[in-house]
Amino acid sequence: MKPAIDWSQLWYPGPTRVFSDDELARAGADRPSRTLVMVALFNYLFMGFMMLQAGPGAATAPLTLVLAGAGVLGGQVALRLWRRPSRRALLRGSAVGVAGLLLVLALAMRVHELPRGSDARAWVLSVFIALALLLTLGWWFVAVYRAHQIEARLREQAEQARALAMAGQLAAAQIQPHFLYNTLAALQHWVQAKDDRAAPMLAALTGFLRATLPLFNRPRLALGDEAAAVREYLEVMRLRLGDRLRYTLAIEPAAAHAQVPPGLLLTLVENAVEHGVTPMLSGAEIAVRARTEAGRLVLEVQDGGPGLAPGAADGVGLANSRTRLAQAFGDRATLGLDNAAGGGCIARITAPLETA
């Protein structure tokens, strides 16, 4: 769709976006760079010099005065527009500037009688027209440029905030608090009851935490490292659920070096335990498989649970996984959830095989 033409720019030019004080404080508090000031000043002095060269010698002194005044006025208005680029400020600045120039022009015409058609009159008029154009165009440029700059910064800040929130969510999603809490509760009971399962449970939980905590701040990690965390997780759950959970983990050596976004496999396995094992009266088996196929990585998590409910939608975990897969591989990766042939549910990820 082509954007519609904004006709209002003809009579009311300038940036349409109005920034709030808060937005300006966040993204527009900086001063113009010294380079920018130097370039503007140099151009203005060069223009002025050329005008003086083109005019009669007698006009040098008054014109220098006018140029200096226009320069100061131009600079002040430009600085205001820099701090708060808006159509309204641009209009007000331009009106004041042009009115000032007209006043000076009228004064000059009054003092020196310049006959119609004379060279002197043509020169004076062209100098004022050039000055008016220079100032208004310069101000327009400052306002538009600065508005774009602030807008871009605000957008960048919003994206950063979103990424940060997402990272926080992921961190929270990776070690589920209720998993930790319920595991610690079981552990506490077994320690008090002097149950022999306390020691292996503590070992598995420690292993899980050691393998999981470094996952957060890395964009990718080797599948083999993630599989280690998954193994410890399954071991903790097997101790808690007893013979209701059976599991197998088959990671091909070639697949173990594949780089994947962290937490992906773990999320699928957590889902399989929650929806495929715990709802079953006599429990179920979970099979985790990773292999390479025609230069691609294939990850599968299969459970022997009730299968997909008709019309089931992605939960938070799965939706997160899709987002992260897309962030890492774009549309070169897929995540599918299906009913398995022998009952239960199978989650399958295919992704490009990339090694570090």
Binding site: N182, H189, T278
Partner: protein
């Protein structure tokens, strides 16, 4: 004064919290007799019918039937205390008081409070109704609302029964009644092409959770009947009732717990 020990049932699908609750109860309620420790909702309901405990401590998330479903079936006959896991928000909407609950791992002080609240509501063993803090209809409404928050399996459509060398597919709506038969379940059905009966391996208590409650009524610990086939309920004498079925000679027993289904308005 009744000196017989108070009986209780506890249910949790994980062994450690179940054992922890049992240990905590032994402290908070000396003399309480645990008559059943169950690992899922299906077993909990069956054990309730079998042992008739005076108080139940139920985990919410359990396979087969949730603790809330079990509580709905118990229907205020005895006090129920829910035992919820950390992060389980199913009960968060309710102030303590409407529904009794304790968090896992069970804190001795909190459990002692729950026990103090439950004690005055205990039914006498003679079978007098318990003094409920909440009227039964309100409790049912609360539990129904809670049950909406807990996932349950899709209702069963077709039953596969092996008869000799063939596998018969019986549509659930054609079933007249189910009857527990030691480790099996006898399915009696009528279809346009003829009826019959077949044995299936699924225990009755597991079938119960997969059937539509409105259509299939449990009338006895070992009988579930399709209500469309009930002709009448006959009170034989004090505490005894049986069902007469449409067009069938056999009668089905209705146990004491389920006689309220047939009030005769």
């Amino acid at each position: 004064m009744n000196t017989a020990p108070v009986t209780a049932l506890i249910a949790d699908d994980e062994e450690a919290p179940r054992a922890q609750l049992a240990a905590a109860l032994a402290q908070a309620w000396p003399g309480l007799q645990l008559v059943a420790q169950c690992a899922n909702g299906v077993d909990a309901w069956d054990a309730f019918l079998e042992h008739e405990p005076q108080v139940c401590f139920l985990d919410i998330r359990m396979p087969g039937m949730s603790g809330i479903d079990v509580a709905r079936r118990i229907d205020g006959r005895v006090p129920v205390v829910f035992v919820t896991a950390f992060g389980d928000h199913a009960l968060a909407a309710f102030d303590a008081g409407a529904v009794d609950y304790v968090m896992k791992p069970v804190d001795p002080t909190r459990l002692a409070q729950a026990v103090e609240r439950v004690r005055p509501r205990l039914a006498a063993r003679t079978g007098a109704p318990a003094a409920a803090t909440l009227d039964p209809a309100a409790l049912q409404a609360l539990l129904a609302q809670l049950a909406g928050n807990v996932r349950r399996p899709a209702p069963l459509q077709v039953i596969q029964a092996g008869v000799g060398k063939e596998v018969r597919l019986i549509r659930v709506e054609e079933v007249v009644y189910f009857e527990a038969d030691s480790r099996y379940t006898r399915v009696v059905y009528e279809s346009p092409t003829g009826g019959g009966d077949a044995l299936i391996r699924t225990p009755l208590k597991e079938l119960l959770a997969q059937l539509d409650e409105a259509q299939f009524w449990q009338v006895h610990r070992s009988v579930i009947v399709n209500q469309r086939h009930i002709a009448s309920a006959v009170r034989v004498d004090e505490g005894q009732m049986h069902l007469v079925l449409r067009g069938r000679p056999e009668t089905l027993p209705v146990s004491r717990h389920f006689q309220a289904l047939f009030k005769g308005q």
